[in-house]
Every structure is written in C-alpha cells, then in structure tokens.
Symmetry: C2
Subunit: 481 residues, 2 copies
C-alpha cells in the first residue's frame, strides 16, 4: 500500500524528492509511525550528506502530501490523521501449491498461527498461559529488578547462575539422579541445550539416531547443523525400539542417540525404567553419548515422577537436557543441561553461541523454586492436563472418522492422531485455518515425510469452545477423506 | 574436602551406607547446603528402590556423623553447624605449563576473572556497571513484569518483539540506514546475531575473511562452527586493508567477510566512510555477504555517529549485527540483526537455535528506548569513556617500558597494547593475576598465535585504584622484559 499520491521518484528526480521518498518509505514500512518524531533537519542533512535546504524542501513536500506535520519548538512528526482516499490493499496472492511449501516455511507458519488470538490453538505445543504461574514469577522478577542492581544487569558467564543450578540439582533427586550444581550448565531453553550437546558430539555429515516421530524443532535443529537423522521405530507407549537401535548402532556409523524417554512429543510415550537402563547400557557398550530430552518429565498424569535415563549413567555419557518452559516459564527462555563428561565442551560452546543466558530470568526462576510453591503448582497442572488430554481424546473419538487412531499418553499435553489414509495433513491444515483452527501437520515430525496423514493436537487449551473446534475439524476431515 | 570421617564405602558396604554416602556426596558438592531440606524418607525410598528402613538407617548414620538433623514434623535438614575438626583443604595443584593451556581454557579463565571482585578489571570488555542505566531499565522491567502478564511469559517467535524492532529501525537512521521493522530479527546478544549470519552463509570447512586482530569470542565462535578464519591485515586507525582483502577474495574461495568497521575490538579502528563504501562495492562485485558487527558504533568519542557499511548496501548482502550490551544492558542479552536478503534463513536459524529470545528483556529495552532517555545517556557515557581511554593511555605511557606501543581509538573503551618483544602475554597474565590484576593476553585475538607480546586492556573501570594497578603492571612487565 502506498501512502503517497505521486509515483516513486526515479534516479532522475530532484534530490529533495528522493530524500522525501526515503522518509515516506520509512513511514510506509512502519519504522516511523503516526505520532513518531522523524529525524531533525540537521540530523538528516548530516546523515544523508545533503544541504539543510534540501532536507527542508523534502519536509515541505511531505507536509504538502499530508504525511508529516511540523510542531513548533519540537520538530517534524508523522501525522496521526493520515490523508483519506488511500488506495486499497492489493488482492492477496493465492496460496502456493502444497508441494511448494518447504518444511521451514510450514514450521514458521505454524509458529505464527500461535500468535493469532482468533484461532483455536491446537498447533504449537505451548502450555496454556492460565496454567503457568506468570503472576508469581513476574512478581519475583519485579522484586529482583527493583532490589538487585547492578548484579541483575551483568553477565552470568557459563555455567550460569549458581542459585539456579543448586535448585536444579536438588530437584534432580526426584528424577533418580545425583547431580551437583557443578554438573549443570544453564542454557536459553531446552532446545539450546540440545543444540550444544549435538555440537559437542558430532559434526556436519554425521548421523544421530532418534525416535520417530520426533518434535520438529529438533529435526530442524539437526538439519541446520547438517546432522543426519536416523529414524528408529518407536512404540507409541513404550518408546524407542531397542532392537532396532541395536541393529542401527551395529550397522551404521552413528555418533550419538537422541531420545525423549519421558513423554515424547508427539507420542506421549514413556519408556519403562528397565528399558531406560538397557538403553543406557547398550549405548555405553559402544561408548556412544545419549542426549536425553526430559522437557516434559514433570508432567506425568498419575503415579510418580518417571526417572531419567541419566540415573543409570555410569560413564558420564548421558547428556540430560530440560527447561522450565512447559511448566512455568516459556517466555523466560531458561533451560539447562547436565552434559556428563563433555561438560567443559558444552560450557565453552555456550559461551561461543551467545555468551550467557539473560540474568534476571535465571534469578527469577531460582527465586520461584526456592520459594517452595513449585510442587503444589505441578500437582495442579498435572491433574488439569491429564483431564484435558482425556477430554480431547473423547471428543476426537466422537467426531473424527472411525478409522482414526490416537495415542494414549501418560504425560504431557499433546495427542498424535492418525487419520484415514486419504487425508493429506497439509490440505487439512489449510482447510482448518480457514475455519479458524490451527494444528500441526504430521509431515514436519519426520525428516523423511513419513506422517502424511497424521496430525499433532495440543490439548492444553481445552474448553467448550475447543470441543466445538474439534467437532468442526472432524467435519472437515470427513469432507477431505 | 570430605565432610565425613569414614572413608568412602565400597561396593561391599551395606546398602544403607551406600545410600548415606550418596546423600553426603550431594552435600559436599553443594546440591544440598547447610539449612536445606533433603528428600523425605518416603521419596528417597521410592527413587532409590530401597526399603524405608534402609533410608532410615542411612539418615541415622548421617545424623550420627553430624551432617544432617531431624526437625520434628518437618523432615531432615543439612546441619548449619557442621562438625568441627574437618580435614583441611588439599594443597592446590600447581599451574600447568603455559604451552598446555588451550585457548578455550584461557578464555574461560579470563571470563571467570571478570566475576572476581578482588581483581583490577582490565580483562573482559564489559561496560562499567555504573555506566549502564540498570536502575531505570530494571524499573521498566519491574513495571512490565507487574502489569503485562500473561504476555510477558509467552514466546515471542522470530523475528521477535515488534515494538523493539520499531525502535531499532528508527535509530538506524542515525547510522545512515533505512530499515523497516520487518528487516530486523531479534537475537540473544550480538554474538548470536553473528552466529546466525555465519550459519546462513557458510558451512564447516568454508573460509571467512576477517580483520586481525579480532575479538576472541568471534574467533572461537568460528572455531566451534568449523569455519576457517582468513586473517586480513588491519590498520589500527583505518581498519581492514582493502588491497589485501581484494587479493584474498581473488585468490581464495572466501564465502563471506566479517568486519567491525566502527571501533574494532581490540583496535578501536574506525573505517572512513569512503572506505566502507568501497568495501561494500568490492564484496558486491563477487556477490559475497558482508557480516558487519556494529556493537560499539554508538560509543564514538567525539563528532558524530559513524555510519554503517549497511548504508551502502544495494544488493541486500550486508548483514548488520548489533546489541544493547555495551551501552545499556549486558545482562539482558538482547541483540539484533538486519540480515538483508538472507532474512528468512536467519529467522529460521534463530528458531532452531533456541526458539526465541526472552520476552521481558525485549519489552524492557523497547520501553527504555521509547522513553527517550537513551540519547542523553549515550552523550554522558561517550564523554566518560573517551576520558577513561585517554587517562589510561597516559598512565601506560608513564609506567610501561618505553618500547610500548598503544592504539589511539576514537570510540569504545579498550586499548590494544604492544609490549616489548620479550614479554610473553600469557606469563604476564599469570604474574598480573597474582598481583590482583586481570587483562586479556594477545594470543586469543588471532587464530594463528600472532599477538604473543600484545595485551588488551579495558579502560571502562578507570579510577585512582586502576591507575595504581597500571603502575604495578608496568613494574611486572619490566621484570619480565
């Protein structure tokens, strides 16, 4: 949309017109918005190496066009009442053919959907904002910000904030793990922890064995690092097949194994303890690192906290990664890794990647954990998410075609749904979007396009409205199938 | 240091002794500290798969040893009065031979020095905490944290917080640059911006041309990515040699060029505008990306803000990186990049690396910039840093051997010092540490060990005390030389 009546000035136009053109462009693209002050005549003349007269002529032109106004003693501002009679937006460009959408674009589209308040949010696996203790956490943050300067604005170099590492080590006991604060490196979320581990154990061109399906963020991280994913068959309730993994490590030059033993996303699978032990022992025989993602380990639906594979680690080969994003603080971007014997490498890689994680978010989470309300909060959200997952499962059974299959997760808040063979999840994604519903197409949970007729649904936002959206989704699926 | 009288229990010891051993270990390594509650008998019995009796026996043993105490109705706690007569710490291990210290270790040592309040801080190039507006920034943060939930605790997916991108685009006008908010991707600091750019333009094994000397963080980032650094001669006042760079791109398969045109760290060099234009045009002829690090661009000592090379970018090849770490908010870890035509790739790489930058720090910096005090603050710190750099230069001239050479930076707050040939900067670093002074040895500013007898000194903490430290440093240098 152009805000100017005149057509863009070419190279032949007078200098002041080109200067005016440039300012108008910055207004159009949102750099200066209605009510913002634009650069002073003197500033612009210096920066553009043009005379004050030229800038003044340019500003007079923009005033004439109704785009800016002079305010006495103050400078030039973008007018808040923009001229009427603006040209209408151009007709939207039609959707590209499904096959032309890259996995990257598709992922970025699904992420953007998450910021659209008008959609039923079954897409990204973000927690329900009403089920994270934002008020309490922010209040701790506010108090720290008021009383902890200047420490709050200094770097906390790797391994990161000690008070937080102490809390993490204490909680690890519940997961069957003896960690000291010195075993832990703070990261900017769990995915950064996995990034650092992958970079510590392999290079571009190397192969890492993973569960399949696998959370798309990890697949794309691997793609960005040039690391090959060897997808291992995975049972929807008991996790990665050890038989297949054994075969793989015996026949392929695998550099590491990356697994989500507790509540794989999207499957919700949870490996039995004995199987975790076997997994660790199998890899230890080949001296292969195990990157263990335990991001949802606290979100078990009943019983007690499943232990982590790291509990069986005798050789320092298990690199345990997690964060606080699912339970309390997605927007704080604080995660951690206990990298075993590769800790010095991971610590150094953290420094090279972004020097440090932001200080105040680390202090706030440490303060929250110290305050002791975390276990109470966890008990509450485990019950709620268990109920939401059950209710969404029932609604799917009621409204989707009867050939549909769904997982039976014992933790976390996502469901993995296998639709009738004929349903292309990308077509469904598009049709659903038009009906105000976002979901994640199965395509992006595999590096080899395995899950064409699968979708992942996030149950964290369950409500009567969400139930109606599931009903509508069922109708759309039946139309496509 | 062992907190227990008994020697560690072996495999043959009774089970309860092994359980006690494990808890004692967690106390020794700081997971549980004096006054902390340790896991309840029931919890530990579940997690360790041992009987309640075994855990009770273990806890009785630890009580007997004076390590823990029972508090009625509450559980077991680590005693705050630890038993007396503890064994003394072991004698410290002697320093390894200089040649055995890796560049990684040396870097991590210099970083750790920065957290030691007893040292004269000439080492890392962090800003003086008294010259960042922490109080104001934290107060904005506190207010946001109190009033902006739940938005403050949700992901802001790439490209990041729009209000902040608007502010960055507006300020770019002063650097001679027309950017729209949509041209910008928010990152976790400037080094992450550079990381994403490097990953967007090259792979392991590729070569990137850089200035020499170069900030060690970037060298180590390149090492971690497996990217070769081609070091180009660089003038201490006018920056990278274009003649040498031209030769390099004509004769070497260079994939990109990475330059700090405004106030290179450690040189303080500033390329003249005409030279920036030539640089951009030279690289554009070969269609080579220019990664431009402008992290210190606002810290000019006099005159007006130097423009950025990006101002001359016609082909979208210049990837402009910066942050707020030097001027206002090191601990907030917020930076940005305007990646030109590779923006979609950089945005996607940001998602794969850590999903998003923390939300509240972005909002707080946007709020600070909107509030309008930034320019006033900058005018103040520019004057102070200019004075500190001048005063440190004078002190060096007074106290160092007369063969010493120092840079004459026109911006930033570091000095690059060439010492007499005989001085090994690593030996000096160690001797200085013993005298309570930290500095950065020249070794780590080159991938090829070029700067054995150079050091970088940070002038940001200048004071009468710092002057005495410079005098002492001069004495140490004369002893070594």
């Amino acid at each position: 949309m152009s805000l100017r009546a005149a057509s863009p000035s070419g190279r032949g136009a007078p200098l002041y017109e080109r200067v005016a053109e440039n300012i108008a462009h910055l207004v159009e693209t949102g750099t200066f918005r209605p009510g913002d002050r634009i650069p002073s005549v003197r500033q612009l003349s210096q920066q553009k190496r043009v005379s004050v007269t030229t800038v003044l002529q340019a500003y007079y032109l923009l005033e004439d066009q109704g785009l800016i106004e002079a305010r006495p003693q103050s400078g030039y501002y973008v007018r808040t009442q923009l001229p009427s009679g603006l040209p209408e937006p151009e007709i939207s460009s039609p959707e590209p053919d499904p096959s032309q959408v890259s996995i990257h674009e598709l992922t970025m589209m699904v992420l953007r959907d998450a910021e659209n308040p008008n959609l039923a949010q079954f897409g990204t696996a973000v927690p329900n904002p009403e089920l994270v203790p934002t008020r309490k956490l922010n209040s701790i943050m506010a108090s720290l910000a008021r009383h902890n300067e200047p420490r709050s604005n200094q770097y906390v170099f790797p391994p990161g904030c000690e008070a937080l590492r102490v809390q993490i080590a204490q909680r690890a006991v519940n997961a069957g793990c003896s960690l000291s604060p010195n075993d832990i490196v703070i990261t900017s979320g769990c995915i950064e922890a996995i990034d650092l581990c992958l970079r510590a154990v392999c290079h571009r061109g190397d192969t890492v064995a993973i569960e399949s399906p696998m959370y798309f963020g990890i697949l794309q991280l691997m793609e960005s690092l040039g690391v090959q994913a060897l997808e291992i068959p995975t049972h929807p309730r008991e996790g990665i097949s050890l038989e297949a993994l054994r075969f793989a490590v015996e026949h392929t030059p695998v550099k590491a194994c990356l697994v989500v033993p507790n509540f794989n996303n999207p499957l919700g699978s949870c490996m039995p303890d004995e199987k975790k032990k076997e997994l660790v022992e199998l890899l230890a025989r080949y001296d292969l690192p195990l990157i263990e993602n335990d991001i949802s380990g606290e979100l078990y639906h009943s019983g007690k906290r499943p232990i982590v594979s790291k509990a069986y680690d005798r050789k320092g080969l298990v690199m345990l990664c997690s964060s606080f994003s699912k339970e309390i603080a997605p927007g704080y971007r604080v995660g951690w890794v206990a990298p075993g014997r590769l800790k010095p490498t991971v610590e150094w890689l953290k420094f090279t990647a972004n020097i440090a994680t932001a200080t105040l978010p680390q202090l706030a989470i440490a303060g929250f954990l110290e305050s002791g309300g975390y276990d109470h909060h966890l008990r509450h959200i485990r019950r709620v998410y268990a109920r939401y997952v059950a209710q969404m499962s029932l609604a799917i059974m009621r409204h989707f075609p009867k050939e549909t299959r769904i997982t039976r997760p014992t933790g976390g808040f996502v469901l993995w749904v296998q639709l009738p063979e004929k349903v292309d999840s990308l077509v469904l994604y598009r049709q659903a979007l038009k009906a105000g519903i976002t979901l994640t197409p199965g395509y992006i949970f595999s590096a080899t396009n395995q899950y064409r007729n699968f979708i992942r649904l996030n149950a964290a936002f369950w409500s009567a409205e969400a139930e109606r959206a599931i009903e509508r989704l069922g109708e759309i699926i039946k139309e496509i199938a």
